[in-house]
C-alpha cells in the first residue's frame, strides 16, 4: 500500500475507502440506486462493480425503504452493508426503517445484535440543483438515539472516517457534502481507518483565542476562510470541525469557549430544531460564566430550501459568518 499522501478529491477518497474496505473484509457490500455500472450519480462507487462484481456492489431497485430494510436483514445475516441514498431529499421514504428499525435494534435485542450498517447520503446545497437535491437532514438522525452521524470536511477525513464507520458496530449515517465532493486535499491511505475516538470527537481545525466557530462539512472551509479574514485584522478565531453530529462533541467546544468566551455555530440546515440549537444549549449550560456574548447561529432559514437562483444568498456564507463574528466580538 502506498504511503505517499496523494492529492485527491473527496469523492475519490471515499471511493478509495470503500475499495479498501471491500478488499479487507469480504462481508462488506454496497447497495444503492445506480451504484453499479454508473458508479453512482456522483461516481463515488466508480469502478467498484467492475472489480468486486454485482453481488457485492448491488444496483438496487428504486425504493429507499428497501435499501435500508434489506441492509438491516443483511447485517442480521452477518454482512456489513454500506448503502447509498442517492440524494438527501430521498432519504425520507427510508425514515421508518432508519428510525424505528435500524436505530432501535440493539436496544430491542438487549444488546445482543449489532447492525453495522452505513447509510451514505450526499447532502447539502450550493450546487445549483433542483428541489430535494440540496437538503440537510442531519437533525432527524441526530435526534434518533442509536445512530451515529458523521460528516467529513476534507478528503483525508472522508477517507479515514468512512473506513472507521464501516468497521463500527453501530449504524452510521454518513453525510457526504456534495459541494466539496470535488475539492482536493492530501489523502494518506496508510493512515487507514480513523481511530474509533474520532467517531466521538470533534477536531480543532484551527486554533485561536478570540472566538470559536463550530461547524462541519462544507462550511468548515467557509469558517476557515472567515478565520483568515479575521486574522488579517488581528483576531485569531478557533475553528472546530464537529466531524460527528451524533454524538455531538460539545466538550471540545466548551473547552474552546472557556478560552475564547465567544461562540458562533454554523450549519446549512434550517435553524429551528437544527443541531446548532442543541450545541448552543449545551455550551451555555457548561460554560455559562465564561461566555462573554450570546452563542450565535448562522444557519439556513426556516423556509424550504429555495430555488437555486436564490441559494447563494440563502445559504450561510462568508459574509453572514463574518457578520455574526463581528456581532459576537462587539458584545
Amino acid at each position: 500500500m502506498s504511503t505517499e499522501p496523494r492529492n485527491q478529491a473527496m469523492a475519490h477518497a471515499l471511493n478509495q475507502a470503500l475499495r479498501d474496505e471491500l478488499d479487507t473484509d469480504p462481508k462488506v457490500l454496497l447497495i444503492g440506486e445506480d451504484i453499479g455500472e454508473l458508479g453512482g450519480v456522483f461516481r463515488v462507487t466508480d469502478g467498484l462493480a467492475k472489480d468486486f462484481g454485482p453481488t457485492r456492489v448491488v444496483t438496487s431497485p428504486l425504493g429507499e425503504a428497501g435499501i435500508v430494510g434489506s441492509a438491516i436483514g443483511l447485517a442480521m445475516a452477518g454482512y456489513r452493508p454500506v448503502v447509498e441514498i442517492q440524494f438527501d431529499g430521498f432519504v425520507f421514504p427510508a425514515m421508518n426503517q432508519i428510525v424505528t428499525q435500524l436505530a432501535k435494534y440493539r436496544h430491542r435485542s438487549e444488546g445482543r445484535v449489532s447492525l453495522p450498517v452505513v447509510v451514505r447520503i450526499p447532502v447539502g446545497g450550493g450546487i445549483g440543483a433542483i428541489e430535494h437535491h440540496s437538503e440537510s437532514p442531519e437533525a432527524h438522525f441526530a435526534h434518533t438515539p442509536g445512530l451515529r452521524v458523521v460528516c467529513p470536511s476534507t478528503p483525508q477525513e472522508a477517507y479515514s472516517l468512512m473506513r472507521a464507520a464501516i468497521r463500527c458496530e453501530d449504524p452510521v449515517i454518513f453525510l457526504e457534502p456534495k459541494k466539496i465532493y470535488w475539492g482536493k486535499g492530501p489523502v494518506d491511505r496508510s493512515a487507514g481507518a480513523a481511530p474509533r475516538e474520532h467517531l466521538d470527537r470533534a477536531r480543532v481545525a484551527r486554533e485561536g483565542d478570540a472566538l470559536t466557530i463550530a461547524t462541519y462539512g462544507a462550511l468548515t472551509a467557509t469558517a476557515l476562510g472567515a478565520a483568515d479574514e479575521l486574522a488579517a485584522e488581528g483576531t485569531e478565531v478557533e475553528v472546530i470541525d464537529l466531524r460527528t453530529i451524533a454524538p455531538l462533541d460539545h466538550e471540545t467546544v466548551v473547552a474552546s469557549v472557556r478560552r475564547t468566551g465567544r461562540l458562533v455555530i454554523a450549519h446549512e440546515a434550517s435553524q429551528s430544531g437544527g443541531i446548532g440549537g442543541e450545541l448552543a444549549a449545551r455550551v451555555q449550560r457548561d460554560a455559562f460564566f465564561e461566555l462573554e456574548a450570546p452563542v450565535l447561529r448562522v444557519t439556513g432559514y426556516d423556509t424550504p430550501y429555495p430555488a437555486s437562483r436564490l441559494e447563494e444568498e440563502w445559504l450561510p456564507g462568508l459574509d453572514r459568518l463574518l457578520d455574526a463574528c463581528d456581532a459576537s466580538l462587539a458584545c
Binding site: D34, L62, F92, A129, I130, Q271, P304, E313, W314, D323
Partner: protein, 341 residues
Amino acid sequence: MEPTLDLRAALRDMILARRVDTEAIALQRQGELGLWPSMLGQEAAQVGAGSALRPRDVVFPTYREHAVAWCFGVDPVQLLGLFRGTTMGGWDPAERGFQLYTLVIGAQTLHAVGYAMGIVRDGDVGTGDPDRDRAVLVFLGDGALSEGETNEAFVWAAAQNLPVVFYCQNNQWAISAPFSVQSRVPAAQRASGFGFPGVQVDGNDVAACHAATEQALAQARAGGGPTLIEAVTYRRNPHTTSDDDLRYRDAAENDHWRDLDPVDRLRTALLESGEIDDAFLAEVAAEEQELAERLRTGCRALPVPSHDDPFLHTLHTMTPELARQREEHLALVAAGEEDRA
C-alpha cells in the same frame, strides 16, 4: 367507442413537443438551464395519453411529461423554470388541472388517489354527464413501480374503485437500472396483484396509446375503477443532461429504438396514406421555429424570484420568527448588494 384521435394533430403535437425538448437541451448546453430530463422517444406515449384527456380531468405528472403538458395547454416556457432554478413549480396547477412536476419518485401517485377520492365525494363520477364526470391520470416510470408509495396507491385505488388511471411509461431504464432490476414480469401485470386491469400497449404507437388511455379514462369516469397502462417505449437520451448513459448501456440498443422512432413512424404512415403532405409539414416546421424562438426568449425572461420568496411561501400566515428571519435576510442581501455596488 370510436377512436377520436386526429392523427394529423397528434403528429403536430409530437413534433412540437419534441422541439420543446430539443430546445430545452440546447438551453441547458448554453447554461440557461441547470438540467433537463429529455423525453426523446416518448412522444407517442405522451401525446397518446395527453390527447385522451378531457378538460375536467386532472393530470399528475412526473418530471418528464413535457408532451402531456403541451397537450394540456401548459405554456412550455413555464416548464423551464424548475430547471432554470427560478422556481420549484412554474404554473398554476389549479388553472388547468395539470399538477406540478413531482421529483420524488412515486409520491404523486398517492396525491392522484386522494384527488380521485375527492372526485368521488363530489359526486363527479358515474353520472353519465360528460360535462360532469372526471378522472385522474397519473404518470409514473418503470422505476416508480418499485417504490412503496406507488403500491400503496394501487391498494387504495383498487379497494375504493377510484376514478384514476395509472400511466406507466416503461422506458426500460430507471437511470442506470434496466427494468429487470425492478421486475421480472411486465409492468402491466402489477395491476393484477391488486385486482384491477393492467394493459400493455406499444408506447411508440400514438393511436394505441390514445385508445388505451381513452378507454381507461372513460371507464374511470363511469365509475368502473382504476386501470394501469404500461406504454412500452424507450428513453433515447440520457436520464437527464447530467447523465452519461454510455456507462451503463449499449449504443446499439439506442440505435434499435431510433429505428422505431414514434415521430418518424407516424410521419411516414401519414405521408404514405396521404393524410398529410409536405405543405402540412412545412407549416409545422414554421410553427416549430416560432416555438423555439419563444422558448429561447421566454427562458431568458423568466423572472428571478425575489429573496423574499421562500419566506412568503413557507406558510399561509407568516410566523413572528420567520418574519424576523426574513428581515434579517433582506437586510443582509441589501448590504451585500451595496458592498458590490
